[in-house]
């Protein structure tokens, strides 16, 4: 069971939100936006292998070639 990934992603999201808020409050809007973008890319890079894994499993289970 790969539950670690869920909590990892939740942690990353919360940290990014905090950094975004701090940078925004400090008036560094452009840094805040880049942090957000970086976070989304990192999370996406972790999510996509998982989706590929799922599709591969569905393919092998239902014999779709």
């Amino acid at each position: 069971m790969e539950t670690e990934l869920i909590f990892q992603l939740a942690g990353i999201s919360i940290v990014i939100t905090v950094i975004y808020t701090v940078l925004k409050q400090a008036g560094r809007d452009e840094f805040a936006f880049s942090t957000l973008l970086l976070g989304i890319v990192v999370v996406l890079a972790m999510v996509i292998p998982k989706i590929a894994d799922l599709f591969e499993t569905v393919r092998s289970v239902f014999r779709i070639y």
Partner: protein
């Protein structure tokens, strides 16, 4: 008890997603994709044994293995399409979700063509 594990995981994940959604909806969507993928992967192992049983029964009762394969493919296509469509609808993109379902319906019809042809063949044999 697997169901207790799954429900517990889902409840924790739901709370986390609700917290994140207020601030960053785009990250919450990705989190819900991962939760869905993890639970799907856990269940597919069990579905696999059911499918093996179904194939054994089909072999015993002399059903053409081709039709069994078609049914399995259609179920697989429907599973994947449903997964994608629900994620899209959750994120508020109902239009894209409808397109996924449309594509899935077309693919299922195309996959079912041999079965439809076989039904018509046997029907034409019955009608002189």
């Amino acid at each position: 008890m697997e169901i207790i594990k799954i429900v517990g995981l889902c409840l924790v994940a739901t709370v986390l997603i609700v917290i994140i959604k207020q601030q960053r909806p785009e990250l919450a969507v990705q989190l819900s994709i991962v939760v869905g993928a993890v639970i799907f992967t856990m269940m597919l192992g069990k579905i696999n044994s059911v499918i093996t049983l179904m194939q054994q029964l089909a072999q015993k009762s002399n059903i053409n293995i081709l039709y069994m394969g078609i049914i399995l493919k259609i179920v697989g296509v429907a599973y994947i399409a449903e997964f994608g469509a629900q994620i899209c609808r959750d994120a508020g993109e109902g239009a894209i979700a409808s397109k996924i379902e449309f594509a899935a319906k077309v693919i299922v019809i195309v996959l079912a063509v041999p079965v439809i042809a076989a039904v018509f063949d046997s029907l034409l044999k019955l009608v002189p």
